[in-house]
Each structure stands twice: as C-alpha cells, then as structure tokens.
Symmetry: C2
C-alpha cells in the first residue's frame, strides 16, 4: 500500500532557535521553527505569526505554544527552492525573527495533500489519482500503545487509505474506558480546564497523524463530536475558536490532514452559526485549504457552503448517491453506509455481503464509500471505535474493488443517470472502460447502456464476493423488436449473456 | 384459498323481459334485468337508468347495450330483503319498467366487496379481514383459452388474492401477439372504431372477472394503459368517458372489481384534467364506490384526491413505505417492487430472495406488496404479461408470509416509526404479537422495540426463505450502561440472542 517510509516528523530536520538554512525539507513535508521564550505561552492575547515567502508567494501561519515556554511555527512548502520567513509576535524575543530554508523535491511516496479533482473526485496535488477507501476507528488514538500498534499493523495490510478519527476522547456504547490523556489540563477539582491546552495530548495526536502519513493514510480528523461526558461539546464559542486555531497551527502542516468539523453535528447543542464560524476560521487560518467537511446524523449540513470541499455523510440509502451528486455538485463520501457487524444497533449490524454491495453501488454511481466494523466482543474491542484487529469479511472484497478501480486508468467518471441507472449501477472509466454492477438484479442477458460504437470489446464477469474476474464472450446485439417498452433508442454494439445470479458485475473494455 | 364455487354469473338467475321476483339473489351478487329493444343500442344519446329501492335506500345505476338491441341493467344488492326497481329510459319500450327481487344471505365464501379499513388496511364489507397479496398478469385475459385455463389453475394453488389485469389489449416487449378480440368494432379499413363497442369483448372480460371471483381473487382492473399500437390511448375525452361509463355499467355489480384508472398514467399523453374527470365519473356512476387507484411509472399521482381510495404504486425503494403512509394517510399497495425474473429490463430481473425481502420490509412497515414474474422464455410466455405457469421461487415464500400474517389475529397494525424502525422493519399485530424483520441486518442480540411490560413472552426465529418457525429462548434484558448511544430510554422486558445471519425475522407473542 504505502511506499518506503519517510521520517514522519520533518521538524527533526529543522533547527531550534535562530533559523539556519536546512537543505532537506521536501515539498509537502513540515518545516518547523521553534524558540524557547521566557513568557508563558498560554496567555490568551499572545500572538505569533510567521510569513513564508517564495518568489511572489507569501503564506502566513500561526505559531503555537508547546508548553514550558516553547513556541513553534510549522509550515508545509509547496514549491522547491528557497523559502524565507519573518516572525511577527507580541513576544519581543520572537518578534522580527527571520530565516530561510530550501525546499527540495519529494520522495517517491510523497504526492502532497489530497484535493478535489474533476468535480466529484480527488487527486493528490502532484496529479496522482487518489480514490478514497476509508475506514473508521474513532478512538484508536486514545487507546494504549499496544493496541495502537496492532491497529497500525492491521492498517498496513488493509485496503484503507483514509481513517476517520476523533481529536477529543470518546465516551459511547462499547467505549467506556477513560483515556490516558485529555486535550486540556485539569482543574483542582479534577474537571477539565478548557482554557488550558495539554500539549502532550496534541504531541500524541501529531504522532498518530504522522504514523498514518507514513502508511499513506489520510487522517480525516473529527474536530468536534457529541460522544462525551467531560464537557468538550459544551465549550464556549471562544474556547471552541481557540482550540480550532491551535489545532490548525499544530496540524495544518501535515499533508495528510482532512478537517471533519464534526461527527453527527446535528446531535450537538452548538448554535448553527458556530459551524459557520468554524468554516470562516479555517478559511482564514489554514493556508493549505485542507479538505473540509461536516458529517451528519439524520439531517445533512448545507454542503453548498463554499468552505465545504466535499460531502461527508452517513446513509444506508446508497442508491441516492447520484441524487446527492446532483444536489451538491461536490464529491460524495458516504463514510457510514452502516457498518459490517452484529451489534444490536442497526447502524452496526449489516452483513459483509451487504456492505460490499453498498460499496459497489456507491462507487459505480460516482460516489465514495467508507468502511466500519462492529462485531460484538467480550472485551468491547470494536474496530470502529478502538481499532485492533479486523474480524470481518468485507475488507478483502473492498481491496479487490479498489484494485479493479485503480487498474482502470484515469478517474472513475460515471455516466450521467438515465432510467436504467436508477436501478443498476454503472460507471464509465476513461478511456474505454465501463463497469456495470447488477446488485440484487440478475439479468440473464444484458443490453442497456453498453457502448454503441462498433468495435472489438472484451467483457469480464466479476464476482465481487468471490473476487473473480472471468472473461466471457459477447453476443450479437438483439434484433430490434419495435415493441413499446423495449428501450431500443440506443442500440448497443453487442449484448452479453449472464448467469442470472444476483450480486455480479461486468467490466467492458474497448480493445 | 377459495371456498365452494358460486355460479359466477348471477344474472343466470334473473329473468329477461318484464321483471319477476327472483328469490335467490345473494347479497353482493349480481341481479340482472334485461330487455330486447327494437332501437339500436349504440346511439349516443340513448339513456337507460335504473333506481333500486330498499327501505330508505335508493341506488341508481346505468344500463348498457349488449349488442343486437339487448339492454341490460346490473345491480349488486348490499341488504337482504325485497328490492324494487324502476327504469327511466329514452327508449320508450324500456321507460317506466318496474320490478322487484328478494336478496338473501350470502354463501360462506362471499364476504362482499373489499373496502379500506382502519386507515391503512383493508377488509371485506362483512368485516372479514382482507390482506392483499396481489400478482400481475396484465394480458392474461387476452390469451387463448388453453393458456387462460392454465393461468387459473396456477392461481388456484397460489398465495395470490388480487390480480392486476388490463381491460384493453397490450402490445409491449414480450407481448407482441394480436389479441383475438378488441374492445371496439373495426372500421372498413381495419382500424378500430372507438365509437362502437364490441360487446363480445366485454362479455369475455366479465367471464374472466367472474372466474377470478370464483377463486376469491380481486380483479384490479386497469382501465387505461400506454402499451398500445391500436390507438386506445389516444381516444378522445368523449370516447374515454363513454367507455368508462359503459365499463361501470357492465362491471360495477361484480363485487371483486377494483378500478385501477391507469397503469403508468404518467407515460400517457392524456391531459391531466382527464384523470380528474375519470374520478368524477366514478364518483357519479359507481354507487358501490369500488376501490379506486391510479398507478404511476416515475411520477406519483396526487393520491390526496378523495376519489383515490388507496395508493397503488411501483417502487423498488420499499424502505420508503412508512414515508408514503405518512404522506398520503391511505393504504399503500406497492404493486411493483420490481419483479422476480431475469429479463434485461431492470424492473423485471430481481432475485426471488430480493422480492421476498421487499415483501417483508413492505408488510412490516405497514404497506402491502405485489408480485410479478418475468423469466426469459423461448415462447415469450412471461407470467407478468400472459400468465401460464409460475417458474419462480418467491410464491411459496409469499404464501408462508401470508400464512404468518393471517395466523396473527386482527389486522397488521404497524408501530409508529422511530429511529430504529427506519433500518429494521417492525410491525405489531393486535393483540400482543410483534414481528421484527432484520433484512440485511444481522444482530447477534436484539433489544430494541421489544415489549417493555413484564410478562411471559414466546419468541420464534423465522427464516423467510427456508420457511421455518423455530422457538428460541429469551434472555434477561441487558443491564443499563448509562453510555451515550446506548438507547436505553425504553428498557425491554427481555432480550433475544440471534444467530447473526442476515434475512431473518422474529415473532414475539405475549403469553
């Protein structure tokens, strides 16, 4: 899955104190500048702002206090060559500092951040195609080290290249453990002081994001969520804003960060304008414009907002994927088309076959699907929350689907919907490759939506569960009947005889 | 399925000419009065209207010409005792005729017409529960006698108690045969003269409706449809109206008639006000107020219209059943949740397992589902169009489901929707019986929506495909966790351990 591992903390290569030229910062890795100040970094009105210049480019980022008077500035350069920077700060010792570094070409597995590409799809900034195949381990980062290692080891051989995870600890069914660390310092009474960050918590979070980066996995960071008994969800507007700016300053330079502003935002008590304010802050403080979304429970966010880069949703109703595309005109990631598992909660107990089915429908209808796994466990170690090991049967089938999609050159660009596509999912992959997925349909013969141009075509029968690809012959196109209901408007170049079993697909390639 | 067979044409018991008392007309059978007139019955301005009186009741119906000067009046009495009638007519020989007959109690298998009962359900007028389990043979009545006999023979041992069928012949894919009879006489050039009825066509139609009545099957008669190359769908407003009045006069007295004003009305070129006019005519000319619907293709009719008794639709999206109930407040019959079969058309190629799944979802969510079968056939004999024999695997499973629903006393009265029900289908059957159908969900343990009252409960595991009902033990309710997301608001009296396989159901009964 991932290429050779890069050192995950590029700031190792930077210097502490006055800046010197550091030749080995790759594009889309982190340049870090830091200084020990004598002032208490947690004073609310302290500002540290750095502006990085390269030719006509000038990019400003905030610095952040990292405890015990340490101040850091992190920056992710996007162009090779010399970058110069200048610090402005309310701390006299820092104000006016300058320096420079040289940015060099990236290593082979570093393609930069992922961006929206082609309206409904994604690519790394260097143009490499990125097809999101995400999974969910909401609280893996709040688990003991041994379980985290197990999670990383599982991810290394999994098909997943995106992970949804919560910044804040989670308290929820099957997730009752108290985390080792909290994001804020404790008050004397033991409750959290939402005005004082706990830097070690964020260092650990960065380490986790870095571990994912080394595996080629995008970290879909959930900034707020309602699964909480500690008070995180009831922070004031000011506390929310300070936390968000701190997180951007610390993590914005990680190329694999995505901002998922909330999970199930509609289950939280925050006033609606708060979400809009978060989008404003991101637009202002994140110069890299990382991918940004807000995930729903029952009610969708207004994804038309220009700050929302893609539609991150949960819905079992995957045949609505084309409808969502048309409604929002942005990439659709259905992160939770329900999970493979057997817990009593209906969102967590669909069969592996059903999840694989929902993946195929979603992808061939032009969306992207996410994985989660919730099997009952004597020790409450459910992948969806704590990570660990995968027990289910869907991941190898998801890997098979990913391989098929990646083998087809170019982005998956679905056909426009027409009557037939509302019931059978079909996508065309440029150039000259088409997929049809029949799901619960079991035609003994297929003619609709096939290429109409004369030519030589190769057709493969795909069994998404058995993970087989079998060449099958093509037949002459059916003679026109002239009868109503026969839909002969676009006569195909050929037809295909099929085994009349459900849950099969075909791939058609022009030779 | 059906009880002892009654003579299907009660008019055999009536007299021709001046009326005499006929003692043996049962409630909800047909009294027929007829007279040979010397005038041409097809003149457009001829009127024959009969008023039947019984105590304070006075019911008027139109008579109709049956060819060669014969005029008939048909009437379905709903009360026992003496009925007197009086004829008003523009034909002098008929005008002023009077007579009477005695209506007696019905035989054991005659429960009268079906009506809406309890908002979302149906019952025969005598109070006997009617759960619609329909099938579709659009053109069975236009087939040769031998095939029709085969169809009736198939229906006799099938679970189906309603049949959708077209009055007019059908021309469509897999249905290219010219029918033996048309509803209108031919012009000299061979085209149909939509101003002259062909009485023999309608006599045959009545015979078919009677045959279904004898099998205890409701005839869901489709009055207009777009599958046509003869011009039926392009009749003028006046021709449409005359045809509709003629059909009501001829067939209104059949207790098993339902009016399906159109199939796929939205594929027809008729102006929207025409459909409203048909509803007005039915309200005016059908004193029995037979069940009335209009079936859609892609766009639903405005089922709020008071003349529409129930929502007859086609949709694969069966989990929307509760949404439709809430939207229209009328019984939902999803006559076409796609058909079991293997033709290329996606509406006709779902697997038997999927159709059985869609039945369970629809019924437990408080709707009613319809069957159809479209397997490729060398001679184009597809059940959905021509009848014949059933080849599929869904009918025995539909029979199993029907038996389960009928065994539970009282009507199926679904629970109100709540979060859990949008993903798992559940219905409560009065008194004290609940069904849960898990579909693609495979909980290893179930707790939600179970009865909360202490007591003894019996639980059966149901396999809808294997058609088995197996008693399973109940477990103590789970101890409350107090965790977010655990949905412990309504603690159940018990919980159930399940085999964690999809497509299972449970039945819970209070002992």
């Amino acid at each position: 899955m991932s290429g050779p591992q890069l050192p995950h903390r590029a700031q190792d290569q930077a210097v502490v104190g006055a800046a010197v030229v550091e030749p080995s910062v790759q594009r889309w890795t982190i340049f870090e500048w830091s200084l020990q100040a004598s002032l208490d970094g947690s004073a609310r009105d302290t500002t540290v702002r750095a502006t990085f210049r390269h030719g006509a480019d000038a990019i400003s980022v905030d610095g952040f206090p990292d405890g015990d008077g340490a101040w850091r500035v992190r920056f992710m350069p996007h162009e090779t060559g010399e970058w110069r920077f200048h610090i402005s700060s309310s701390i006299a010792e820092l104000d006016g500092s300058t320096g420079s570094f040289v940015c060099v070409e990236p290593g082979p597995s570093n393609h930069g951040p992922v961006q929206v590409d082609g309206g409904f799809h994604f690519a790394y900034v260097d143009g490499t195609r990125y097809l999101p195949f995400g999974t969910t381990c909401y609280a893996w980062n709040h688990q003991p080290a041994r379980r985290r290692q197990e999670t990383l080891s599982t991810l290394r051989t999994s098909p997943f290249n995106k992970l949804r995870m919560c910044v804040f600890p989670k308290r929820y069914i099957y997730n009752a453990d108290e985390p080792e660390l909290h994001a804020f310092a404790r008050k004397a009474d033991g409750s959290l002081d939402f005005d004082r960050f706990e830097p070690e918590f964020f260092r650990q979070l960065e380490a986790r994001v870095g571990e994912l980066k080394d595996l080629g996995i995008e970290a879909d960071l959930i900034l707020f969520h309602p699964y909480d008994t500690w008070g995180y969800q009831d922070m004031t507007a000011e506390q929310d804003e300070r936390y968000l700016r701190y997180l951007i300053a610390r993590l914005g330079a990680y190329r694999n960060v995505w901002w998922s502003i909330a999970n199930e935002f509609d289950l939280m008590a925050k006033p609606p304008e708060r979400w809009l304010r978060f989008l404003e802050i991101l637009a202002e403080a994140d110069p890299y414009r990382h991918l940004t979304s807000i995930h729903n429970a029952e009610r969708m966010f207004d994804h038309d907002h220009p700050g929302i880069t893609h539609v991150s949703i949960q819905s079992w109703d995957v045949k609505r994927t084309r409808e969502w595309r048309e409604r929002f005109g942005k990439p659709i990631i259905n992160d939770e088309p329900e999970y493979e598992g057997d817990v009593p909660l209906p969102w967590g107990n669909i069969s592996a076959r059903e999840l694989v089915h929902r993946y195929w429908v979603t992808l061939l209808d032009g969306g992207h699907a996410g994985h989660g796994e919730t099997y009952l466990d004597d020790h409450d170690i459910l992948w969806w929350s704590k990570g660990g090991r995968l027990k289910g049967e869907s991941p190898p089938r998801i890997a098979f689907l990913r391989r098929l999609m990646e083998e087809a050159s170019g982005p998956l660009e679905p056909l426009e919907p027409s009557w037939v596509w509302t019931r059978v999912s079909a996508g065309a992959v440029a150039p000259g490759t088409w997929f049809f997925y029949f799901g619960e349909h079991q035609p003994g013969r297929w003619t609709y939506g096939l290429p109409t141009e004369d030519g030589d075509y190769a057709v493969d029968l795909i069994d998404p569960w058995e993970m087989t690809v079998t060449p099958i012959p093509v037949s002459p196109p059916p003679p026109p009947t002239g009868l109503p209901g026969s839909h002969e408007e676009d006569p195909p170049a050929f037809s295909v005889d099929l085994p009349a079993r459900p849950y099969l697909a075909i791939r058609v390639r022009k030779l």
